[in-house]
Every structure is written in structure tokens, then in C-alpha cells.
Subunit: 231 residues, 2 copies
């Protein structure tokens, strides 16, 4: 196999993302506990996010809107506007935080950039993702950037088509089995899964739905150059 | 000049958009007047949108978050959560409304699709724009779709580069002087401006900053096929 193009997921593969959602969600839990001590806040927020996914899509703005809606619903509209303002502030903080790269990312990308064409393939909010990439300092190492509203067989096929990539020349690297591994392997390309410390429940895949070959896990991005050479 | 590629803006060029913002904004004004009868609500909302633009970017979710923040600020946090819920509902309504095409769009695109490569080049929220395009039924007529977080010389240059387009082969069609005309003409391509009934103040350009040639206004999209042949 002669790998020519390596695609990288962004959130939780190159830079920290989910931990920020977790931090904000625990603040949200504390805030709402004061109004509704007995509510199962995490479950209700997760349900709200899923309900709103087809309307809002992914990203921090969607998350912020779903937190506000959950707060109103759980308190039966008793939540004070000052608390809504606090939630708005958390959303802005998440959007403005500096991009924190994962360990080993910069040196690994730099080592690979001369040997392969590197693509950033992320999903989520266009504005937020572009802003994160700009703040990451990694922009120049990527030949191209694809920000998709959803990562599935159809949207990866679109990327291959637009960029004239053959599946057998392509390897995807990411932390989400659902978004980075399963659809890519289904198209006949290869994938490496690098688990992150926390995974959004939406990104999990039942074990028996995982492809049996075409991918394998790596424990850190530093293992990638050797893994690519072994293919 | 041998035009090969025609780029179309989406919002207020192919489908109605700004009128929806106006409708929602007038509901917002009525709602807030009950709490702060003397406030200049439109001005304050416009200022909030501008202040938040570099954090949120464009689109309905950004607009919804800015409405909520304006409501909290203007009422000094006295706005009841039930009113915040109403604002959230307006945002969702805007995101779910069927895509309403402007008059003459479908037949004009159909007439042009065989003669030129058609590109949709919009800005704003990725998820919302893809959803609008899907609901518009126009998807199949476009060779490609580019959703940009901002439309300026740099991002148009990126489109030309990615798609191997020479400026002299390209014509852009849109309702915004700032986003669809000025940067395109600056790159040496041609543009047609089709004004919409209302324009967001942010999209206006002072008359003395407009290019003197390389573009002209059309009064309706139906004039486009003839205008392209005259180039």
C-alpha cells in the first residue's frame, strides 16, 4: 500500500476539545443543581443535544443554545436571566480559548508533512473550526482543509472526489470510531484510531458494528509515522 | 471574455433570507418593548451582532445568541426565562423554514447549467447553509458548493486555487456589494449585482469604495443569461 494522503481529524485528535465541554458541563450541573437539586441534568442535556442535532448541527453555539433550553425546561422557566447570561459567557469562553494541541502533534505533523499530503478533515461549526485552526499554528502544514457538517460515507466520498483521491492511497487518523474510522474503512481506505481521554457518547460505536480489518488503534500520535510506513 | 464558471451567492440571491431576519427582529422588538419601552432595540441588537461577529461568525444560531444577550442586557437581567424560550423558538423556526426560492431562480439556473459550470458560494453557518441547499432542490444543478466563513479577496482566491479557476473565466452573481462584488472584481473577475429588497447594513459599501468597472447591476436573475452572453 502506497499511502499518499493522510487525513486528520481536529477535535481531540490534534487539539483538546471534549474536555472543555466536560468542564463547562460540570459548571452547568452545579448552576442548575441550585434550582433543581434532584434533576438528572446530564441526561436531560444529552437528550436536548440529540433532539436539537438535526436543527443546530454540531459545535459550541449549538451546545450553548441547548444548555439554555435545558435550563429553562428543567426549572420550568424559573431560571433567572442572570444565569442565562452566565451560560452565554461559558459559550464565548469556549469559542475564544487558545487552541491547546495534544502532546506530540506538532512534531509528528512536521515529520509527516514532507512525505505525505496532509488534509484536515473536521466536522462541526465552520467558523469555530477555522478559528481554531488559525490559532493552532498548524495551518501551513496542511495541503487542504475540509470542514464537513457530518462525517459519513457520503461526505468522505465527496472529499475523495473533489480532491482526486483514490481510497487505497488514503489513511484517516482520528479519535472517533463513528466519524473517523467506520465510514473511511467502508470506502476501502485505511484508518488509525487514537482514543482520547474522554469520548462524547454520540461518537461511540457498538463493538459488533466495527469493521474487522482496515484499521487499528494507536496509543499516541507519535506512533503514526512508523505505522504509516508499515502499511 | 469566455465565461466558464458562474458563482452564485445563496442568501437573498437564490432564496429569501434577510426578510426572515427582519420578521424575527420585529417580533423581538415587540417582545422587548414590553419590558423596556424607551430602548432603541434595533440599534442595540445591531451593536451586539457586530460585537459578537468575531466570536460567533454569521448565521441564525449567532443571531439567536445575540438576541438573547441583548434582551438580558437591555432589561438588566429582568427578562423572564419564558421570553428567552420564545427567542429560542424563533431561532429554530428560522432554521427549519422551507427554503423559499426567489422568482426566476430555478428556470435561470436550469438554462445556465448546461452552458457553464455553476458553483454555489455562500457564507455563514455550514450546517444551516447545507440544510437550506438540500431543501431548495437546486443541489443537482451545482458542480460544487463552497461555504466560506467570510467572503473576501483571500477566500475567493482560495476557491479559485482549489478549483483551478482563472479569474478571467469567472463571474460572480450576488446581492451583496461587500461580499459578492468588491472582492471578486479586485481579483480580476467579473460580477453581477442583483439587489435584494432589503440589505443587512453590514453588507453595504460606501459608493466611493466601489470598483468603477468589472461589474454591473441587474434588476432580476432572469437577465443573467443574456448578460453573460454579452460579456
Amino acid at each position: 500500500m502506497a499511502v499518499r494522503v493522510v487525513g486528520f481529524d481536529g477535535d481531540d485528535t490534534l487539539w483538546h476539545s471534549e474536555t472543555r465541554f466536560h468542564v463547562t458541563q460540570s459548571e452547568f450541573r452545579d448552576l442548575l443543581k441550585r434550582h433543581v437539586p434532584d434533576a438528572d441534568i446530564d441526561t436531560r442535556l444529552a437528550e436536548m443535544e440529540m433532539k436539537n442535532l438535526s436543527i443546530y448541527g454540531y459545535g459550541v453555539k449549538s451546545f450553548t443554545l441547548s444548555m439554555i433550553e435545558t435550563a429553562i425546561e428543567l426549572t420550568e422557566a424559573r431560571i433567572p436571566a442572570a444565569d442565562v447570561e452566565t451560560i452565554l459567557g461559558w459559550g464565548k469562553r469556549m469559542l475564544m480559548e487558545p487552541t491547546a494541541l495534544l502532546d506530540g502533534v506538532e512534531e509528528t505533523l512536521r515529520a509527516l508533512a514532507g512525505r505525505y499530503d496532509l488534509l484536515l478533515i473536521t466536522k462541526g461549526d465552520l467558523f469555530d473550526q477555522e478559528s481554531k485552526l488559525a490559532r493552532s499554528g498548524l495551518g501551513e502544514m496542511f495541503l487542504g482543509v475540509e470542514i464537513l457538517s457530518e462525517k459519513n460515507v457520503e461526505t468522505y466520498r465527496g472529499v475523495f472526489h473533489r480532491r482526486g483521491i483514490k481510497a487505497e492511497d488514503f489513511v484517516m487518523v482520528g479519535n472517533s470510531l463513528r466519524s473517523d474510522i467506520v465510514p473511511v474503512v467502508a470506502l476501502g481506505a485505511h484508518a488509525f484510531h487514537i482514543p482520547y481521554e474522554v469520548t462524547w457518547h454520540h461518537e461511540n460505536v457498538p463493538e459488533d458494528e466495527l469493521p474487522v480489518q482496515g484499521w487499528r488503534p494507536l496509543s499516541a500520535i507519535r506512533e503514526l509515522p512508523a505505522a504509516l510506513e508499515e502499511l
